[in-house]
Every structure is written in structure tokens, then in C-alpha cells.
Amino acid sequence: MKKFKILGIILLALFVVMVASSCDKQKDQKKEATAEQGVRTIIVATDATWPPMEMVNKNKEIVGFDIDYLTAVAKEAGIKVEFKNTAWDGIFGGLSIDKYDAVISSVTITKKRQKNFDFSEPYIKAGQVLIVPTDMKNIFSLADMKGKKIGAQMGTTGALEIKEVPGIKLKSYDEIGLAFEDMAVGRIQGVVCDTPVAADYALQKEEYKSKFKIVGKPFTDEVYGIVFKKGNKELIDIINKGIAAVKEKDIDKKLEDKWLR
């Protein structure tokens, strides 16, 4: 009896493995099919926790300015894009081991990032801005926040800027939304993030807009780029052509009106 049981378990295990592998095959066939039709599909990672640039909507779809923008670029360039939601602190790691072809996730073009990755032409301007609770007085810049705790998303340019100012304690979060929530309950006294995101949280979101205010003007000038693995010149050229076409047709202006105004 025991032997039969063991045999049964082995057969069951084999069956499971077979089903699993046949599923894989189906997937592969699908990929080949799209390739045969001549439309190339690239997979692009985005950290969809950065409204209104990239976020997940109520229907669990990834939406936002970056998503619409890259879809338009791809259409002009004659390729297809598939978006993949990826945590920010590992997003560049996944790119360097070929988990996806590119990253569009409000990535500021910095020297350090350029050393490790290649960027497309810049596609939009942004800057870092400080957000504080509305009842906070006499704060005009980051330097006035000495001795206070300020939050930012881990590994973003905002976090790097906070580190530059001595005397400020940086708290780094997995998602920018968690930093805003922590500020709403009073555990931190400020948040630094990109202008579009700041506007979304401090001016748009119902539960936050009476609680937060943006301090002054952005204190950095930054441009976003689409990120590629070092040396992927062929794909960068395709995307850059698409970016040029989108600029020419003023599609980017329309998208900015849709998402950022």
C-alpha cells in the first residue's frame, strides 16, 4: 500500500510539472506569434506609486503621464509597449539583469545614473519641492528644516537632496504615499518629492489637500529620461525617434494638459 502511495505522489508531481511546463510553452508561442506579425513588443518597468506620473487605477491598470507618453512614443516608433509594475528600489537592478528592456518611472537623469545606464532624450522637466503640514510657519526652504525629520522615497533624487543638507534627518520610504501618510499623522515634518507628485498630493487628493502645503518654488532643475541598459543603442535610437515625432506633433503638450494641469 505504501509503495502505491509513493508512486501516486510521484505521478502527481510529474503531472504538475508537465502542466506547468506546457503553460510556459503556450506563453513562448504567444511571444513568437507577436514577433511573427512584425510588431516588436518591449517590456518597460515602472513603479506605479508615483501619481500622476505612474499609478494603478481602480481597474488595476497602470496609468499616468509616463504610461500615455511612452505608448504614444512607441506608436510613432512602430513598436508596442508592455508595462510591468516594479518596486522602485530594485527597478534598476532588474534592468541590468534584463528582466525588462527599459524603465520609465519619472527617472531624473543624473550623472551617477548615467555612469551605470543609458538614457533617452529628456522628455519632461521637473524639480524637487518641499511639502510641509499647513500649520507649519516660517519655513521658506529646506535649510529652515534643520533638526526636523523629512521623508522621501528610498533612492530618489529627493532623498539625495535631503542628505545634502546637514542637520536634517532623512527617513526613506518604500513608497512616497507612505511618507505622506506618516506626515499626515505627524511622525515626520516634511516630504521632498518631484513637482508633479507634490502637486497631486498637496493640491488634488481630498484627504490631504487641507493638511499640506508646498513650500516655495522647486529647488532643483531636473529632466526625466527613459532608462536603458548600457549600450542598448539600437533600442535607444528607436525610442528617440519616437520622442522626436511626439514633440513635433505636440502630443506631449496634450498629455501634459491631461495629466499635469
Binding site: W88, D89, G90, F92, G93, S96, K112, R113, N116, G151, M154, G155, A159, L160, K171, S172, Y173, D174, L178, E181, D182, A184, V185, G186, R187
Partner: protein
């Protein structure tokens, strides 16, 4: 988690099934494991030293970046385990209580907490309850960890207490002790020997689970590693170092526990 069975009749050998989340506690009687411990421990030290010396950039930078994270990891672990032991003791006593109300509360606590993932509990305590009770991240982290592990500890205490033959309680009571005197002076000291190995195991498991608190922006070892990797893009190097440091700490602790077991003379037949 952990289940301890002991035949009521002491002439048959008692059975200990010990399957925990922690690393196995090395004992001199288990040759294979003892050797594996030494290989892993000294191997990890050798690899860390080798990496730091052969390519100080980035390995030495990583090693300089994470020490405050190690301290935080230790702080969370030690404070949580102490609180969890206290919660576990009362839960264990509650679970064997004949008072239906106390028994019911203790059992409900164990059922509810064991049914919710620790990560969800951490989020719940910090972000969901954050609007009502504003606790600093460290406090929420320690509280969530000890509430979670207190439930597991409760089951260990219960099993440990029940492993002591009924005759012990009867004898103590017939000597004129009250039932709580008998529990604290006769039963628990004996049960302590049985529960030390699984408690040690929980300690090591808790240390590893403490990496989950990095989600609350508590700057523990894992979080320091993630912060380093997110800015330097040295993912392989950073997580190799983080993994090796965790391994070193857990191996070191499991050794400490095995020495402690030897001291109080737990026979591992």
C-alpha cells in the same frame, strides 16, 4: 511551528519533534550539523573578509554603511523577544486555564494572530492604527513583532507546561502549595528545560523576521542595505553582504543557545 510531545509514561522514550523557522541549533551529538555550523560560520567570515580585502569598493563601503542597521536589528529582536516571552507566558497559562473566559481570550488571541501574516500586522499597527494611536515606528515594530511571536510563544509555553506529568502538580498541591505557587515553583522551572530549545528557535526566527520591519522605514540591517543598493546600483554586492551578515548573526546566536542548553543540561537523546 513547534510541537512538543511527551508520552505521559516516562518509561517509553519521549519524542521531540522540532521543526522551526530558525536555523537548527547545533549540538555536539549531531556530528553533521556541528560540522555544517563550523563550515558555514567560518566560511561566512572568510568570504566577508576576502571580499572586503580584494575589492574594498564597494564591499568596504557597504560594511561601513550598515552597522547602525545591525544595532537596530538587534534592538528590535531583543526587545521583541523579551516582550513576547512575557506575553507568551500569560497566553500559555491562559490556554490551560480552567476559567472559560480566560481560556477563551487566550485561545482567541492565538487563533487570530497566527492567522494574520506578520507583514500585514506590521502595516496594520503602523499605518492603519496610525490615525488613532500615533506610535513611533520603532515602538510599532517591536509591539507588532512581540504580539505576533507572543502567540507562538504561548503555544510553546502551553506544550511545555503540559509536558510535565500531572503527578508533579498533585504532589506540590498536597504539600500545601497554592496552585499558582505550584505552577511558578514546581511546574514552570521543569517546563523551562523543555521549552528552551523551541524558544531559542523562535529567537533566531524572530531575528530573521525582523527584516520585515524595514517596510516601516525602520533603519534595520536590510533597510540600510536597500538604501545603499538603491543609490549605488550595486545590488549583487550589497545583498551578498547583507545575507552574509544575517547568516553570521543567526549562526552566532544558535551557537549561544546550544551552549546555554548544554549548561542547563538538556539531554538530546
Amino acid at each position: 511551528m513547534v510541537e512538543i510531545k511527551k508520552q505521559a509514561d516516562d518509561t517509553t522514550k519521549h519524542v521531540t519533534i522540532d521543526v522551526g523557522d530558525g536555523v537548527a541549533i547545533p549540538s555536539k551529538k549531531d556530528r553533521g550539523l556541528f560540522t555544517a555550523w563550523r563550515v558555514a560560520f567560518f566560511g561566512a567570515i572568510a568570504i566577508i573578509a576576502g571580499l572586503v580585502i580584494s575589492s574594498p569598493d564597494p564591499y568596504w563601503d557597504i560594511l561601513k554603511f550598515v552597522p547602525d542597521g545591525i544595532l537596530v536589528t538587534f534592538q528590535v529582536t531583543v526587545e521583541s523577544i523579551l516582550l513576547a516571552l512575557l506575553i507568551g507566558l500569560f497566553t500559555g497559562l491562559g490556554r490551560i486555564s480552567k476559567n472559560p473566559l480566560i481560556n477563551g481570550i487566550a485561545s482567541l488571541y492565538v487563533e487570530v494572530i497566527r492567522g494574520i501574516p506578520l507583514l500585514v500586522q506590521l502595516f496594520y499597527l503602523y499605518f492603519a492604527l496610525g490615525r488613532i494611536v500615533n506610535m513611533p515606528p520603532m515602538t510599532s515594530a517591536i509591539l507588532a513583532m512581540s504580539i505576533c511571536y507572543g502567540a507562538y510563544m504561548g503555544e510553546i509555553f502551553r506544550a511545555g507546561i503540559q509536558s510535565i506529568p500531572d503527578g508533579q502538580m498533585e504532589a506540590a498541591r498536597s504539600l500545601g502549595m497554592s496552585s499558582s505557587q505550584a505552577m511558578f515553583h514546581v511546574i514552570l522551572p521543569q517546563a523551562f528545560k523543555t521549552i528552551l530549545p523551541p524558544v531559542g528557535n523562535e529567537f533566531v526566527a524572530l531575528l530573521k523576521d525582523s527584516s520585515l520591519v524595514s517596510i516601516l522605514a525602520v533603519s534595520d540591517l536590510l533597510r540600510r542595505g536597500r538604501e545603499f543598493a538603491a543609490e549605488s546600483f550595486d545590488y549583487f554586492e550589497t545583498y551578498t553582504m547583507v545575507a552574509l551578515i544575517y547568516l553570521l548573526i543567526t549562526l552566532f546566536l544558535s551557537k549561544l543557545i546550544s551552549i546555554m542548553e548544554d549548561r542547563i543540561g538538556i539531554e538530546n537523546e
